[in-house]
């Protein structure tokens, strides 16, 4: 469904990605792991068009994404919940969700999606008329994910969804990731919390300094001695 082959990308002179090959198949959760600066976020940004790849190809369901504008890529069915959540803090929760459904012109379908979101994230329902800026960090993460889902993406890119959350909320976020996936949405997950990411994922990639160092099933990666010592704390 999504394939990156030999993607080179970066900012200014420096290339953060030095030839990345990643694949996501329909229905999968794929973890993208690695140290800070390994190029995980840049990979997601290259997919969604925020960073232009200099070399290599990115295809989504047979369509070449290289050079497409971010809003065009979103319209193809690639959702991206960015690092730091980036909810519209000065808009209400409901308005944030409506904006997630910006491309959904059918109001009935939109309201149906809203009901699904209330089910998935009950806390958002009770706060729907509050400004998003007044939500807690965990609630903002829920809102960012719900907003991303309102566009009915076929593939959802999640960048550090558990960052800065209390352990209990981390678990809640991962539960929701599994539920989203069970609904048929493929997920490419960037995470610092490698242990949690590997427990929910089908497969995983380890990025090291801008290239894929390892690629295997999640189970195999979790058992790999190198991964254990470098990313799972021994």
């Amino acid at each position: 469904m999504l394939a990156l082959s030999g993607v080179v990308a970066g900012y200014g002179q420096t290339a953060c990605l030095k030839g990345v090959d990643v694949e996501v198949r329909p229905g999968e959760i794929v973890a993208l792991l690695g140290a800070n600066g390994a190029g995980k976020t840049t990979t997601l940004m290259a997919i969604s068009g925020l960073v232009r790849p200099r070399q290599g190809a990115i295809t989504f369901e047979g369509v070449r994404l290289n050079g497409l504008a971010p809003e065009a890529i979103a319209a193809l069915g690639v959702g991206h919940v960015p690092e730091g959540r980036r909810v519209f803090t000065r808009l209400t929760v409901l308005e944030n969700l409506h904006l997630g459904a910006y491309l959904q012109r059918d109001r009935r379908a939109r309201d149906e999606d809203l009901r699904r979101m209330w089910e998935l994230f009950p806390v958002l329902r009770s706060r729907q008329h509050q400004l998003a800026g007044t939500l807690s960090g965990g609630e903002q993460q829920m809102l960012a994910m719900a907003r991303g889902l309102m566009a009915r993406p076929k593939l959802l890119l999640l960048d550090e969804p558990s960052l800065g959350l209390a352990p209990k909320l981390v678990r809640a976020v991962f539960d929701i990731i599994v539920r989203i996936n069970a609904g048929g949405t493929a997920i490419l997950l960037v995470e610092q919390n490698a242990r949690m990411a590997l427990t929910v994922s089908h497969r995983g990639y380890i990025l090291e300094t801008g290239a894929v160092a390892l690629c295997d099933s999640a189970k195999a990666l979790a058992g790999n001695p190198h991964v254990k010592s470098a990313y799972l704390g021994g």
């Binding site: 969604s48 068009g49 925020l50 504008a69 971010p70 809003e71 979103a74 319209a75 959702g79 991206h80 960015p82 730091g84 959540r85 980036r86 909810v87 519209f88 803090t89 000065r90 808009l91 308005e95 409506h98 904006l99 997630g100 910006y102 491309l103 400004l131 800026g133 007044t134 939500l135 807690s136 960090g137 903002q140 907003r147 991303g148 566009a151 800065g164």
Partner: protein, 306 residues
């Protein structure tokens, strides 16, 4: 006239010019909101709006038409023509002058705005001449007594037109899909891209709407002062900008309040203190406000939590 009636009269006159300031101030504040640019050419868009209105009057043959239905429709036609002309101008300005500079340092765009302002002034001067042009009276000059103050039909029309435009804008920004997208773009364009919101188109529409409001302001200004001149956009534009800062730049209700307040303060200052210092009051108000509340009257922001 009792002192209270004098005060009421000043208030009515102040609200009239304040309505025009408010209409223009909205354009400054909306554009600043979405791309953090002080569009110094916006005062010129207002001036162009007055001239397009003047041309429409002449073209429709509205000079000296007797009051009545024909004239009312004429007024609507003139305002419509001016809105159309300015909306197109606003779109062109954004597309040709500012969009290529989207990634350039902010100072570059600011200097471009000032250059554009000179360009528009001189273009209008070449087309219409450098002398004052008479603006036809489209609204019958009936006088009404409003609690001791004398108010003309034209003033009522100005209040109604400005009020209608501002109410319409408020509904558009707060209730519609486009309005939500505008507020979202103002806050985080990158997040908008990721949701499939066409940020460039939203910015274009913002320019078109801001310019349309200035167009209405331009026609009302021409009707109120009976003449237009190619350099009217400079001082009025600067005052409207002051009004936008007064209310809190980027804040839409702030621009409305700021415009009305500035009009009233300026008129009261001119009436009670000294008419020669009229323009000074506007800017003194700005300096004093910025000293004590740099964010403007309504410019307080909700804390952004990470």
């Amino acid at each position: 006239m009792t002192p209270f009636q004098v005060f009421l009269q000043q208030l009515a006159n102040g609200l009239t010019i304040g309505s025009i300031y408010a209409l223009i101030a909205l354009g400054y504040t909306m554009v600043y909101g979405v791309i953090q640019l002080i569009n110094f050419a916006h005062g010129e868009v207002f001036m162009v709006g007055a001239y397009v209105g003047l041309s429409a009057c002449l073209w429709l043959g509205l000079e000296g038409v007797a009051p009545g239905g024909a004239m009312a429709w004429g007024f609507v036609g003139v305002v419509g023509a001016s809105i159309l002309g300015c909306a197109l101008l606003g779109l062109a300005v954004e597309r040709l002058a500012y969009r290529p500079l989207r990634r350039a340092p902010r100072l570059t765009a600011l200097i471009t705005a000032i250059g554009l302002s000179f360009f528009l002034q001189n273009a209008v001067m070449l087309v219409y001449g450098a002398t004052d042009r008479r603006f036809p009276a489209l609204v019958p000059s009936v006088r009404w007594n409003l609690g001791g103050a004398t108010v003309t039909t034209l003033q009522l029309v100005i209040w109604a037109a400005a009020g209608l435009m501002m109410a319409g804008l408020q509904v558009l920004v707060m209730r519609t899909r486009l309005g939500k997208a505008m507020r979202a773009t103002a806050q985080d364009p990158t997040a908008c891209w990721l949701l499939g919101i066409p940020v460039d188109r939203i910015i274009s529409v913002t320019f078109a709407i801001g310019s349309s409001l200035a167009a209405v302001g331009g026609v009302l200004f021409g009707l109120y002062y009976h003449t237009v001149n190619f350099h009217d956009g400079y001082l009025i534009g600067l005052k409207a900008f002051t009004a936008a800062v007064l209310g809190g730049i980027g804040n839409i209700p702030g621009a409305m309040v700021g415009g009305l307040l500035l009009g009233v303060l300026e008129t009261l200052g001119a009436g009670y203190l000294s008419a020669q210092w009229k323009h000074v009051f506007a800017f003194v108000v700005l300096v004093v406000l910025l000293l004590f509340k740099p964010t403007g009257l309504l410019g307080e922001r909700v804390a952004d939590r990470a």
